[in-house]
Amino acid sequence: MLSKVFATIAVAITGSILLYGVSDFPAFGDPHSPANAGVPGSESVSLYFIEESYKDTKVPNIVTSVLADYRGYDTMFETVVIFAAGMAIFAILRVVGNKEETAAKAAEEDSFTNGDHNRIIVGTTVRIVVPVIQLFALYVVAHGHHSPGGGFQGGVILGASFIIIALAENLNAALRRLSELNYVRLAAIGIFIYAAFGIMAQVLGSNFLDYGALQPIFMTDGPEMARSHSMLGVEIGVAFTVTAIMFAIYANLASRGQLVKGL
């Protein structure tokens, strides 16, 4: 009770201060606000991205070019954060080598092959829908620099396609398609791909993640297309990690770290 009173007072004070601050904000939708255009003497970097990013990288989607190229270092470590979160869940929850569980797992496998009548409609629908979801996920990844999309979004959709299998049938059905060993590998490979692009640029005598230096590898006309291709490669790495970790989070949480039965 006391905590509710205290919370209400704290929230009321903080909220009124923030709302008071709001009245000094630039108008909503103002293209010349400091966030959108910068202040006199110091132009916002977003103007540079809007005007120059296509010339620099040949990528029409400005969000992708900023994400994977100009802010590539940041995005790489965002991916590492996701990987670390997956590993943290593994470390907190995962129970390995419990004989009781392996017995339960076998029993569960049996009940699946014997057929669970309640799941026939859902299971059939999911079996038809999942390939479409996965194809769409790959499109979102591959087309990320021409339309809305990219590694994070496509990875989440791809991860969701495995989660939907686990929900409709059971966790083992999903784990048979993407086993624990494979999703951990996939997560690590994703980061490795990302870092490899950075190190390759270093090997070719440029800065870490300076994709323009990869021009001789991609055999493009200029550094711009090399940057465009590298962005696609980097996005694929991100998609690998995000797919694996999204599924790992679900699998471990739903089975209390035992990776059997699921919900």
């Binding site: 905590s3 205290f6 704290a10 255009a37 029409p60 969000v63 943290a88 929850l93 809305p148 989440v156």
Partner: protein, 179 residues
């Protein structure tokens, strides 16, 4: 009151909503006793921040930060929100995009020569890409960290048999006085 709404709430509606959503989340974080409800509060808080960032990048009449296929800026939108606000600003110079793409016949040349110096994009017609970039990663990282939080909650439940904060604290105190 109506005047206050017109002057202070309507032009900043998104910002008001973000503050209100954020305070709902903050209230849940402080006042709720159940750890899962606290996590829900944390997620609501996060959503408010995302709304705030995306609202900052909005430009009236602008479109998504994706250029046309060869770097052309997209067509200007006729529809503008909050028409009355713009009247106060003299700078309405941005009517339509600079007509740089007189003909599409140049796109072959664009591709072979890898530079497009004559492209001019009017930044007023394209939403600010930076908040989108920042929030894109924030959303996915938010999901991953929420997963960690749920894993910790599961561990706590396994240990204490409860997710209620006061019960957990009592349990800890009891075990401390025992040992």
């Amino acid at each position: 009151m109506a005047e206050f709404i017109h002057d202070h709430i309507q032009p900043y509606f998104n910002y008001w909503v973000y503050v209100i959503i954020m305070m709902i989340g903050l209230w849940a974080l402080i006042a709720k006793n159940n750890l899962i409800k606290k996590l829900i509060g944390l997620s609501i808080f996060q959503t408010a921040i995302i709304l705030f960032y995306v609202s900052m990048g909005v430009k009236d009449g602008a479109t998504i930060p994706i250029l046309g296929h060869h770097g052309s800026s997209p067509p200007a939108s006729e529809h503008r929100l909050f028409e009355d606000l713009d009247e106060e600003e003299p700078k309405k110079a941005h009517g339509k995009p600079v007509d740089h793409h007189a003909a599409d016949d140049e796109h072959g040349e664009d591709h072979t020569h890898g530079h497009a110096g004559h492209h001019k994009t009017n930044p007023d017609l394209i939403a600010n890409p930076l908040p989108h970039v920042l929030m894109l990663t924030a959303i996915v990282v938010g999901v991953a960290t929420l997963g960690v939080a749920l894993a910790i909650s599961q561990m706590i439940f396994k240990e204490f048999g409860s997710l209620e904060e006061d019960e957990i604290l009592e349990e800890i105190k009891a075990s401390a006085s025992d040992g």
